[in-house]
């Protein structure tokens, strides 16, 4: 017989997962939320929000899932963004646990730092190594604008995730 606590926990993780999946669908729908050819990477703020609001293990798992989704949509080798987001989520989780206050501004700044790291590593391993300077336009006209545009959606996604966390908060 599932307990009330167990049900609350299950619903909380279910809604986190649905939020992540929904954001993945929205980010890959052609033309939706697009400015020119730039669309936001919504899965990154969602997995970082889970890492901030929950714990480092939850952040690592959601980071891995979000990264695998991003790998599929961006045609990167499977696991590339998975590893990056997994590590970033653990790091962000610890930062907010020990040093940083949980609020929307700090979360947006953390997202910005995480996106810069992810985009920088992506450019280094997938473009600079193979195409050297000829691919700089990709960084300046696609990857960095995409990261910047994603920040616009950080506050509402953090608010949504925090609503889920507070609604289904389980006293440990």
């Amino acid at each position: 017989m599932p307990t009330k606590k167990g049900k609350e926990r299950f619903l909380k993780w279910l809604f986190y997962a649905l939020l992540l999946f929904f954001c993945y669908i929205v980010q890959t729908t052609p033309g939706l939320l697009a400015i020119g050819s730039i669309q936001p990477v919504l899965v990154v703020p969602v997995c970082l929000a889970v890492a901030v609001l929950e714990n480092e293990l939850a952040g690592a798992i959601f980071g891995a899932l979000a990264g695998l989704m991003w790998d599929l949509s961006a045609s990167r080798i499977s696991g590339f963004f998975g590893i990056i987001l997994c590590v970033l989520c653990v790091a962000v989780s610890f930062c907010f646990l020990f040093w940083i206050r949980q609020n929307t501004v700090n979360f947006t700044l953390a997202c910005a730092a995480a996106l810069l790291v992810a985009v920088g590593l992506d450019y280094l391993f997938n473009f600079l190594i193979f195409y050297q300077g000829g691919s700089l336009y990709l960084l300046l006209h696609t990857l960095l604008p995409m990261a910047g545009y994603t920040l616009v959606y950080c506050p509402p996604l953090f608010w949504l995730a925090r609503r889920i966390a507070r609604r289904y908060a389980v006293e440990e």
């Binding site: 033309g31 990477v41 990264g67 590893i83 193979f130 990709l138 990857l143």
Partner: protein
């Protein structure tokens, strides 16, 4: 913080990272970009992406009718002027008809290649961080699509299948440096290889490389696929030559090619499953 490295959570996180590394190794070993996990995510997400894409397209068309009314009226007036001008050019109709039939013979894929077995597919997902406008379609191995199958439209070649799931596939476009196909220029019949170029991709162009130094390829020539190597069928339109240059090595020439199809704009394609 140091105690964290002795906890079960840390060990679980290490397991997750090891699993992700395993996916990466599996993807690299299989020669594709995808792992079992990616295929599972793709299989589950494809129906939702198809619905989302259809709904977004419908709403986009609906609001376009409201917001573009003034533009459409002006365009209508201009088009009426053009119709009057064209009516005065009816004397050239026979010549246009003859040229049209030549282009139809060249470009009408089904009439030229009745042996092609094709599968129609819709573009259901794009990601702005994807490489060189690669996209996802709503057909996969369940419909007989396989890796390296050419992807075309009525206008010409778009790319090749680089990843396949049961109900989806990912298309690498001809702007991608990983895209390589044997090709010939139609007038001079000079063989070469169409290969994406990072520098040209930003302008939406690609490259016909390995032309002989004595090649007579000229601006305006059509570039078609050849069946050298046996990987792709022949006579698929790739694009038009814009200019011809000598490679920096001085050994061969290359031509800058304007693709017949803009990969960033396609919404539906055909996959050549067999030929």
């Amino acid at each position: 913080m140091r105690d964290f490295f002795k906890t079960t959570r840390f060990k679980v996180i290490l397991c997750v990272l090891a699993l992700l590394l395993g996916f990466m190794i599996q993807a690299a070993y299989s020669g594709t970009l995808s792992s079992v996990a990616s295929k599972a995510i793709g299989f589950v997400s494809t129906p939702f992406q198809a619905v989302s894409s259809a709904v977004t397209g419908w709403f986009g068309g609906f609001f376009d009718r409201l917001t573009l009314a003034d533009e459409l009226l002006e365009e209508n007036t201009q088009l009426q002027q053009q119709v009057r001008q064209l009516q005065g050019q009816l004397a050239d109709l026979d010549r246009y008809k003859s040229e049209n039939e030549t282009y139809r013979e060249m470009l009408q894929i089904q009439e030229e290649h009745p042996t092609f077995e094709m599968e129609a597919a819709s573009v259901i997902a794009r990601d702005s961080s994807s490489r060189f406008y690669s996209f996802k379609i709503d057909r996969g191995s369940d419909q007989g699509i396989a890796l390296q199958d050419p992807v075309i439209t009525q206008a010409g070649m778009v790319g090749i299948i680089s990843e396949v799931g049961p109900n989806y596939a990912v298309v690498t476009t001809l702007l991608d440096p990983a895209f390589k196909v044997g090709a010939t220029a139609t007038a001079s019949r000079d063989p070469g290889m169409v290969e994406g170029d990072v520098g040209l991709a930003q302008e939406g162009k690609t490259k016909l490389r390995y032309l002989a130094p004595t090649s007579e390829v000229k601006e305006g020539e059509l570039v078609m696929s050849s069946d050298l190597g046996g990987t792709y069928p022949a006579d698929l339109l790739i694009g038009t030559v814009l200019e011809v240059q000598m490679e920096s090595s001085g050994i061969s020439k290359y031509a800058v090619v304007q693709p017949a199809v803009d990969p960033s704009e396609v919404t539906s394609v055909m996959v050549v499953k067999a030929y």
